[in-house]
C-alpha cells in the first residue's frame, strides 16, 4: 500500500511537468465521448426498441466505457505489466526488478495501480464531470449503485491487471509480444462490452461471453452504473468479479514462479 502511494505520487509529479499534455488528454477523451454519444443517438433515432435501454442510459454506458478505456487500454500505460516487462526484457534491465525486495507481481501491481489511480483521479474525473455537465451523462441511480460501481471498477482493474500480467509472462518466453498484444486488445475489445453492450450480440456469442472473464472488465461496472441490474444481481456480479480476480492473480503468481526458475537474463 505504501509503495502504491509512492507510485501515485511519482505519476502526479511527472504529469505536472507537461500541463498542456494534460489538457490535450482531457480534450481527446471528450472527443471520443462525443463520438460514441453521436453514434448511439443516431442508432436510437432509427429504432429505439432495439437498444433495449432508454437513450440517456445507453449514452452514459458508452461514454463511461470511453472514460474507463483511458486507463484500461492495454497499451495506454507504460506501467501496464506487459508493456513494462517487455521493455525490461528487451533492454535486459529486468534484473534490477528482481533485485528489489518486493515480489515482481506486487511491484507491478503497485506501479500500475498507482498510474491507473492517477489516471482515474486526474483524467477520468474531469472528463466525467465535463460530460455530466455538457454531454448529458447521467448520474448513477442511487448512492449504493455509485459505490458498487467504484468497487466493481477496482475489481475490473484487478482482473485486467492479472490478464496483462499473464501476457507479460509470455514475454519472458518469447521476448517479443507486440503482435500478441495487438491480437489481445482486439479480443478484449470485442468480448469486454466496451464498444457494444453484450445484450446486443447474437445469442450464441452472449453464451460464450458469459463464461469468459472479459465481460467483467467493462460490462459489469458499466451496467451497475446505469442501473441495468438489480441489487441482488449486483452482489452476484461483484462476487463473480472477485472470484475471477482471485483466480487470475493466483494463476499469474504460479506462472511467475515457473518462469522465474528458468529465467536467464540477456546480458544487456
Amino acid at each position: 500500500m505504501k509503495i502504491f502511494a509512492k507510485c501515485l505520487h511519482t505519476e502526479r509529479r511527472s504529469a505536472g511537468l507537461y500541463r498542456t499534455d494534460f489538457l490535450l488528454k482531457v480534450l481527446y477523451s471528450m472527443i471520443a465521448m462525443y463520438g460514441v454519444r453521436s453514434l448511439w443517438t443516431a442508432l436510437y433515432a432509427q429504432d429505439p426498441a432495439i437498444v433495449g435501454r432508454p437513450l440517456p442510459s445507453m449514452i452514459t454506458y458508452a461514454m463511461l466505457a470511453v472514460a474507463l478505456d483511458i486507463i484500461f487500454y492495454p497499451s495506454a500505460l507504460s506501467t501496464a505489466p506487459q508493456n513494462y516487462i517487455s521493455q525490461q526484457v528487451r533492454t535486459g534491465r529486468i534484473d534490477t526488478d528482481l533485485l528489489r525486495p518486493v515480489d515482481l507481481q506486487q511491484q507491478l501491481l503497485a506501479r500500475n495501480g498507482g498510474a491507473a489511480a492517477f489516471g482515474a483521479l486526474w483524467l477520468v474525473m474531469p472528463a466525467w464531470l465535463l460530460s455530466v455537465l455538457f454531454l448529458g451523462m447521467e448520474l448513477p441511480p442511487s448512492l449504493f449503485h455509485g459505490a458498487a460501481f467504484l468497487f466493481s471498477g477496482v475489481l475490473s482493474f484487478l482482473i485486467l491487471f492479472s490478464l496483462n500480467f499473464l501476457l507479460g509472462m509470455v514475454c519472458f518466453v518469447t521476448t517479443e509480444i507486440r503482435q500478441i498484444t495487438m491480437a489481445y486488445s482486439g479480443i478484449l475489445t470485442i468480448l469486454s462490452g466496451k464498444l457494444i453492450p453484450n445484450w446486443l450480440y447474437p445469442e450464441w456469442m452472449q453464451a460464450l461471453i458469459n463464461v469468459l472473464p472479459f465481460r467483467c472488465i467493462f460490462e459489469t461496472p458499466l451496467s451497475i452504473y446505469i442501473g441495468a441490474v438489480g441489487n441482488y444481481e449486483i452482489l452476484c456480479s461483484l462476487v463473480l468479479q472477485a472470484a475471477w480476480a482471485g483466480i487470475l492473480l493466483l494463476l499469474g503468481k504460479i506462472m511467475w514462479l515457473g518462469v522465474h526458475r528458468r529465467l536467464a537474463v540477456q546480458g544487456g
Binding site: 499534455d21 472527443i31 463520438g35 453521436s38 443517438t41 432509427q46 429504432d47 503482435q179 495487438m182
Partner: protein
C-alpha cells in the same frame, strides 16, 4: 530536376538496405497479419453487429461501411508502410539522435523516411483489398473504369493527406519537444472517421474533419463519391487531390522552418 532524381536514387538505395535487414524476419509478417486482422476484426465485428441489429447506420448499409473502412485502411497503409518513421521524429529529437541526420550530406527528410519501412503495414493494405470488394458485392455496386480511376486518385491523395497530417503533428516537436498528446487527439478524431460515416457526428465535427484536419478525405468523401451516397455533393469529394497538394505544401514549409529553428536537445 537533377536534385529530385538524385534524391529518388538515394531513397531507393536506402530502401534496398532496409529491405535486406527486414527480410531476416519472415515469420514476423505472418504474425502481424493475424494480429492486424484481429485488431481490426474487433471494429468489423462491431459494425456487423450494429448493422445486423439496426439494419443500417443512417443510410449506410453494412456493405457501405466495409467499403468505408477498407478505403481508410488502404490510404492509411501508404503512411504506415513508407512514411511510418515520420511519426518517430519526436523520439529522435528528444533522444538527440536527430542530430546525425543534419551532419550527413543527404536531405534529413530522405534519411528519415528511407531509414525504415514498416512492411507489416502491408497487412493494412491487404485488409483493405479484401474489405472493399466484399463490401461492394454486398451492396451490389459495380465499378466501371471511371470509378477505378477515381479510386486510385482517392487512395493516392488520401495517403498523401495521412502522411502530411502525421508529419505536421510531428513537426510540432521542433517547437515544443513533445507531440504525443497532440497526436493522441488526432488519433481519436480519425478513429471516429475510420469506422463511421462523418454525417452522424453533426456539422461542427464535419467542418473539423473536412477543412481543419481533412481525414474525411481518406475514406468518407471517396466512399460517398464511389458509392453514390447522398451525404455530400460530388465536387466536394473531387477536391481530394487539391487538398492533398495544399497540405503537402504547408508541410514542406513547416518542415523547413522547423529545421531552421531546431536546437539539439543535447542528450
Amino acid at each position: 530536376m537533377r536534385e529530385v532524381k538524385a534524391g529518388l536514387k538515394m531513397y531507393g538505395s536506402l530502401l534496398k538496405m532496409t529491405m535486406r535487414g527486414i527480410l531476416q524476419y519472415r515469420a514476423d509478417f505472418w504474425m502481424s497479419l493475424v494480429s492486424v486482422s484481429l485488431l481490426n476484426g474487433a471494429n468489423i465485428v462491431q459494425l456487423s453487429v450494429i448493422s445486423w441489429r439496426f439494419h443500417a447506420l443512417g443510410s449506410w448499409q453494412v456493405g457501405d461501411l466495409l467499403v468505408l473502412y477498407g478505403l481508410f485502411m488502404i490510404s492509411w497503409s501508404i503512411f504506415s508502410v513508407f512514411f511510418y518513421r515520420l511519426s518517430k521524429i519526436e523520439d529522435e529529437i528528444v533522444s538527440g539522435s536527430f542530430d546525425v541526420y543534419l551532419l550527413r550530406p543527404v536531405s534529413p527528410f530522405l534519411q528519415l523516411v528511407g531509414g525504415d519501412i514498416k512492411y507489416t503495414g502491408l497487412c493494412d493494405t491487404l485488409l483493405g483489398v479484401v474489405l472493399i470488394p466484399t463490401g461492394l458485392s454486398m451492396t451490389g455496386t459495380h465499378w466501371g473504369l471511371w470509378q477505378i480511376f477515381w479510386f486510385v486518385i482517392f487512395v493516392l491523395s488520401g495517403g498523401a493527406i495521412a502522411v502530411c497530417i502525421k508529419f505536421l503533428i510531428s513537426c510540432v516537436t521542433f517547437w515544443t519537444t513533445k507531440a504525443s498528446a497532440l497526436s493522441q487527439v488526432f488519433i481519436q478524431i480519425y478513429l471516429l472517421t475510420q469506422k463511421y460515416p462523418v454525417t452522424i457526428f453533426g456539422p461542427a465535427f464535419r467542418v473539423l474533419v473536412t477543412g481543419l484536419v481533412p481525414v474525411a478525405y481518406l475514406n468518407f468523401y471517396p466512399a460517398v463519391y464511389l458509392l453514390g451516397k447522398p451525404d455530400a455533393p460530388p465536387w466536394v469529394c473531387m477536391l481530394a487531390p487539391v487538398i492533398a497538394m495544399v497540405l503537402a505544401g504547408i508541410a514542406a514549409l513547416v518542415w523547413r522552418r522547423g529545421l531552421r529553428r531546431y536546437n539539439s536537445s543535447g542528450a
